[in-house]
């Protein structure tokens, strides 16, 4: 079978979606099929450009390549998942969030444009009609499936997949730090953690890792560290190799991951694979599908005070933290998340 994986790529930006596409391609090839990624260049602003790109995707013909049929199109990201194909399966990473749950949210950008509501409605209308073209609709998490149902009335089946190099995560003796690996972005809420650190009773230390989504975010992050007097309690490691990342997971006391309404969240799964407890928030979305409060981690209100209390609790109860980390790994294994099962469902 010849399978094309349709996604979008914001030039110079790499994140979970790119890792997912590559993992999927490798997994499909691993079971004996031909698979390739078709990544459409994407620029999500100003809003009218999104409709241009939607139209561009609709005008693409991916039914054949060099005279040979493309048997299956797997759509991952908007608007690439709307490329027409007679045998299409969607595995939705997320929709264009500014048109849905981030519409009236400070982190959504559509509200700042005069034509924001108009483009929002056009996207919603297009999706309600065009997603139905697919033979089957999956999402990468229950959270994404819930949004699809809530805003478009479309049912979808959540289908989990493992993080990259899942088998290489390990656990080592905990040092005195929490780990927060994620690209620096307002949606990931690194600043919220800094504000929490300023309130902890213990000298809690957090190692942040990841590249900034925009240079201004890095400046804002450094300014917050200085303003809150946290220079000696915060490390920013920047970009890490996979091996370095696993090392910092392995030696962490726990993982802090409080994003706003995350789609899926590899960080949660990676922490569980490294046998580390996860602190997340009640509005964090995807991580809540895996963190079992008090068993595999802690779930708090998204306030500096609540997060500070959770950090203090694990800081002073290392054994409890270790036990929750072990429970987390056991829970992950019990879910039997694998590429094999994901590919089997997607290829039908």
């Amino acid at each position: 079978m010849r399978v094309l994986i349709a996604t979008v790529q914001v030039p110079f930006v790499r994140g979970g979606a790119e890792i997912l596409a590559e993992g999927l391609r490798d997994a499909i090839q691993g079971v004996g099929h031909e698979a390739e990624i078709v990544a459409i260049p994407y620029k999500g602003y100003p809003p009218e450009r999104i409709l241009d790109q939607l139209l561009a995707c609709r005008l693409l013909d991916l039914t054949e390549s060099a005279g040979n049929p493309v048997d299956l199109l797997l759509g991952l990201k908007f608007p690439a998942y709307l490329i027409p194909h007679p045998n299409k399966v969607l595995w939705i990473v997320h929709q264009h969030r500014a048109a849905y749950e981030l519409w009236d949210h400070p982190l959504g950008d559509f509200m700042h444009y005069p034509n924001g509501p108009h483009v929002r409605d056009a996207i919603r209308q297009a999706e309600e009609r065009l997603i139905a073209e697919a033979r089957a609709v999956f999402t990468i998490s229950a959270n994404v499936a819930h949004r699809l149902k809530q805003y478009c009335g479309i049912e979808a089946e959540p289908l989990y997949h493992p993080p990259r190099y899942a088998e290489q995560f390990y656990c080592a003796t905990a040092d005195d730090y929490f780990f927060f690996p994620s690209r620096l972005s307002p949606l990931k809420r690194q600043t919220l953690v800094l504000e929490a650190l300023a309130l902890t009773r213990h000298p809690v230390h957090v190692r942040f890792a990841g590249v900034p989504e925009h240079p201004t975010y890095a400046e804002a992050f450094r300014a917050s560290v200085r303003r809150l007097g946290l220079d000696d309690r915060v490390s920013w490691l920047g970009y890490l190799t996979e091996e370095e990342k696993r090392y910092h997971y392995a030696h962490a006391l726990g993982v802090i991951f409080p994003p706003h309404d995350e789609d899926y969240g590899y960080v949660t799964l990676e922490a569980m694979l490294a046998s580390k407890p996860v602190i997340t928030c009640t509005d964090s979305g995807g991580p809540l599908e895996f963190v079992r409060a008090g068993e595999t981690g802690l779930t708090t209100e998204p306030t500096p005070q609540a997060i500070a209390a959770a950090l203090d609790a694990l800081w002073e109860s290392r054994n409890w933290a270790r036990r929750m980390g072990e429970s987390g790994r056991a829970y992950y294994l019990s879910l039997r998340i694998s590429w094999e099962s994901a590919v089997q469902r997607l290829l039908g």
Partner: protein, 491 residues
């Protein structure tokens, strides 16, 4: 429901500001209102019914606007009151309320007086009306054609509603006219006017009229421009043997008070006509209450509904109106029509008929009052507006997609340049450049049948248009010659 309301506000001297002050108290019961203005000052009473926010086109708070369910833009012909809000509507489409059905004055004023953008104006005219309009726009800009001519032939209303999600008009026939300019929903709702409690009516009013006897008081009020036909009224009165049985009272601003006073004197009407100028509202109300007959002529008209007419209906005043535009749609038993091409004849006829049977005219005034109470209630108007908001919300996505069409068509034009077989086609009711077959060679028409009718109609329209233009040009030339000859003769 939260609505953004863009309109001139009192104390701005425009009927649209007064309309806003009349509608908002009723609309408040159905929606949260944010009134947006670029005026420096407004009547603080407005803040009792709505949040009033000032905006600057250069720094529009789009986020605040986007929190509303719909933005509503009130369009009239004065660039000072409507120029900025029209520009907001271009960026942030919403419902357009047309207070005039001809908006050439707005756009000509904006391009010429405010922006000094000759090319922009001429291109716009060509975009909506074609090559002949381009020539006419050039002629207008260079002073060879008048705005009146352009008003008559190029209303440019389409430019005001081009991006609209819904349109509301105050004139029933306006629906059909505007529907040709936009694919979005167009609805008619009679101009709202909260009528005050009734005064003595019917037989009582007629009896009162009989008892008072002549001279009868005729009233004319408002912003009186040339199109209010004061010249014709004065000439008619001057030629009327029974003129002493009338007293004409003129209230409001005159387009040229010196000229009017000179004419009154020259026609020997000093005893019959009184020019009061602008007076406080209560004084005007008292004058209306004391009047027996009103004159509210307009020719040419921009198609607008008349608030002053509703005010006259409120006072149950029989009124002479020109039989054009919105006025022509009024019931014949509620007003006295004056045909524009038989103006003096009809005015004279009505004045004499009034003298012969004043009670007949008093009954006409009562019909007007009943019409006001039945059709112009603010509650009915607000319901129509709220219904339109619901319908227009569904059009938001089309506004966004229409922009995509424009960009795509622009791109295709760039590829194909001038030798392309592209020509405009109708998409969402507007011309969009798209592919079409190569042009078909013209065929000789051997026999006239139904399929040729549209072609002949088009030829007929073009010919009539050209003839009209030539007639206008001749008039202008003739007038200039008369002026030159007159000057020479006087010398």
């Amino acid at each position: 429901m939260r609505l953004n309301w863009f309109s001139p506000l009192p104390p701005a001297r425009t009927g649209i500001a007064d309309y806003t002050a009349r509608v908002l108290p009723t609309l408040r019961g159905r929606a949260d209102l944010v009134v947006w203005t670029d005026q420096k000052a407004w009547d603080p009473k407005l803040e009792d019914v709505a949040e009033v926010r000032r905006y600057d086109l250069e720094r529009m708070p789009w986020m605040e606007l986007n929190r509303g369910d719909m933005s509503i833009y009130h369009m009239g012909n004065d660039p000072a009151f409507h120029g900025t809000l029209w520009q907001v509507s271009r960026h942030h489409p919403g419902i357009v309320v047309l207070h005039d059905l001809c908006l050439q004055g707005l756009f000509a004023g904006l391009y010429r007086e405010h922006w000094h953008d000759r090319d922009g104006y001429i291109d716009t005219m060509e975009r909506f009306y074609g090559g002949l309009a381009r020539q006419d726009a050039e002629a207008f800009w260079d002073g060879r054609l008048t705005i009146a001519y352009l008003n008559a032939h190029y209303p440019l209303t389409a430019l005001a509603v081009e991006n609209a999600l819904g349109v509301l008009v105050h004139w029933r026939d306006g629906v059909q006219e505007v529907t040709q300019d936009t694919p979005c929903p167009v609805v008619y709702a009679p101009l709202p006017y909260p009528a005050s409690p009734r005064r003595p009516q019917g037989d009582a009013a007629a009896a009162c009229l009989q008892a008072e006897g002549p001279p009868y008081r005729i009233i004319m009020f408002g912003h009186i421009h040339v199109n209010r036909r004061l010249d014709a009224i004065l000439r008619t009165l001057a030629g009327l043997p029974e003129k002493d049985r009338f007293r004409l009272h003129i209230y409001g601003r005159l387009w040229d008070e010196g000229h009017v006073r000179h004419q009154i004197h020259a026609l020997g009407l000093d005893e019959v006509v009184t020019v009061h100028g602008f007076v406080p509202e209560d004084e005007l109300e008292a004058a209306l209450a004391a009047a027996h007959l009103a004159v509210n002529l307009r020719y040419p008209t921009m198609g607008e509904a008349s608030v002053s007419q509703l005010q006259l209906f409120e006072h149950a005043l029989p009124t002479l109106v020109t039989q054009v535009g919105w006025y022509a749609g009024l019931p014949a038993n509620a007003v006295a029509f004056v045909r524009p091409d038989h103006e003096i004849e009809d005015i004279r006829g009505h004045l004499r008929a009034f003298l012969a049977d004043p009670t007949r005219y008093a009954a006409m005034g009562e019909c007007g009052r009943c019409l006001l109470e039945a059709e112009h209630r603010p509650e009915g108007y607000v319901q129509a507006l709220v219904d339109l908001v619901s319908e227009a919300e569904r059009w938001r996505s089309y506004a966004a997609v229409r922009e995509t069409y424009r960009r795509v068509s622009g791109e295709l034009q760039t590829w194909m340049m001038s030798r392309s077989p592209l020509r405009p086609m109708q998409v969402f009711g507007e011309d969009i450049w798209g592919y079409s077959p190569l042009p078909v060679a013209p065929r000789r028409v051997k026999r006239l049948d139904r399929q040729h009718v549209p072609t002949f109609r088009a030829i007929q329209e073009a010919t009539l248009h050209q003839a009209d233009r030539m007639r206008h040009e001749s008039d202008v030339t003739l007038q200039a010659i008369r002026q030159v000859v007159g000057d020479a003769f006087r010398r």
